[in-house]
């Protein structure tokens, strides 16, 4: 009798866990369906354009600017940083997998050996340190920002391909999900409030972008000249809701980027792009 009861409660616990935790793939698909149902005219493969996919006027403006982007010289500075060898004469291309080409969609990646999420920026710094150079500061747009504005162009056309394998990776994913859904700051607003619940509502004249596709096109040049990396954008969001932000590259920020990027899986990447 007692054994049956234990077995039964064990089963119930298992069921409870199954109900409480959707898999990452279920999370992703549920959101695609959510946006597809509300906006049947917009093709899901265009979600990588963010709010632009839902606003033809802004998309036309974007297309016109992207024909001759005002920030090509900035990306060229990034290319020079990429070509500059480390102190020991080796290069980024020698250090990064596949010479740094078509890899951005694999990051953030859960590094089993380190037991934590590493971003593409982290991997670049790991290369620098391993070759005798100092790590760049993640929030320094003149070094890491410019460098990634070029490095990420090497993965244009790659599809986002974030993997969550094993319990430790899943824990990091769930932590990022928690950050995304938790209300924050004096204004008591979560990432999900704006980018799921109220995605494609206007705040004044600004269209709130849907979460699906958001992670595919960084860094951006806002207004055509201000370079903003994805985690710098997170800092901006925290500031907007009046929440003291974590440092870029903190475990919380990296786990957030991990969860956030997973939701864009399968969507084509494009860097570096114009945003208003």
């Amino acid at each position: 009798m007692i054994k049956t009861f234990q077995a039964l409660s064990g089963l119930l616990l298992l069921l409870g866990a199954a109900v409480a935790y959707a898999t990452p793939e279920e999370d992703r698909l549920r959101l695609v369906i959510y946006f597809k149902t509300r906006y049947p005219d917009v093709k899901p493969e265009n979600y990588n354009y963010g709010a632009l996919a839902f606003d033809p006027d802004s998309k036309a403006q974007y297309d016109a600017i992207m024909e001759f982007p005002p920030f090509v010289e900035e990306i060229e500075k990034g290319r020079k940083l990429w070509k500059t060898p480390f102190r020991n004469g080796k290069t980024y291309a020698e250090c990064l997998p596949s010479g740094g080409r078509m890899i951005a969609g694999n990051y953030p990646m859960f590094d089993e050996a380190k037991g934590k999420v590493v971003t593409l920026e982290d991997v670049i710094n790991i290369c620098r340190v391993a070759n005798g150079d100092e790590a760049y500061k993640l929030d320094d747009m003149k070094t890491m920002g410019l460098l990634t504005s070029y490095v990420r162009t090497l993965s244009d056309g790659m599809k986002m391909n974030i993997r969550v394998d094993g319990p430790a990776a899943l824990k990091a994913y769930e932590d990022g999900k928690q950050t995304f859904f938790a209300r924050k700051g004096q204004l008591n607003v979560s990432c999900a409030n704006c980018h799921i619940d109220h995605a494609l509502d206007h705040l004044r004249s600004e269209l709130l972008s849907p979460v699906t596709g958001q992670a595919t096109h960084w860094p951006v040049f806002r207004g055509g000249d201000t370079l903003v990396t994805l985690q710098k954008r997170y800092v901006g969001c925290f500031n907007s809701v009046r929440q003291v932000s974590d440092q870029e590259g903190s475990p919380r920020m990296n786990n957030l980027e991990y969860f956030h990027s997973y939701l864009s899986n399968g969507l084509e990447m494009k860097s570096s792009v114009f945003r208003k």
Binding site: Q186, L187, N188, V189, N193, C194, D197, H198, D201, H202, L203, R204, S205, L208
Partner: protein
């Protein structure tokens, strides 16, 4: 002579201080100004106000503020909503203006006075 200048100086300081206070009093924002102020109420971020000509390019995340007395026969219900909207709607997008100290109690009174007239 020295005493006189000290006295005059003190008098000037007092005047400066009091007129400073007067300036502050004059600058105190009205309910409408708090409503429109991006760093205070910032109501237009989400709410349209069809009856207010200055309310241009308003947001769509919240319901338009119109016919407020008909929708909130009890003014206190409206005030409570501004103070902490999560009480009546846990899923709300609206910040708890009173509970989180975004606005002072006095500012909330002014805001409610203004929007209750819409």
């Amino acid at each position: 002579m020295l005493n006189n200048s000290v006295l005059i100086g003190a008098l000037l300081m007092v005047l400066a201080t009091t007129s400073g206070f007067a300036d502050q009093a004059r600058k105190e924002e009205s309910g409408k100004e708090i409503v429109l102020d991006r760093n205070k109420g910032n109501c237009l971020a989400c709410h349209g106000m069809p009856g207010v000509p200055e309310a241009e390019q308003t947001g769509t995340a919240g319901p338009p503020l119109i016919a407020m007395q008909a929708r909130f026969p009890d003014r206190q219900v409206l005030r409570a909503k501004v103070w902490d909207p999560t009480v009546s709607n846990p899923a709300t997008f609206m910040p708890p203006f009173g509970k989180h100290g975004v606005l002072t109690e006095k500012e909330i009174d002014k805001v409610v006075d203004f929007i209750y007239g819409l």
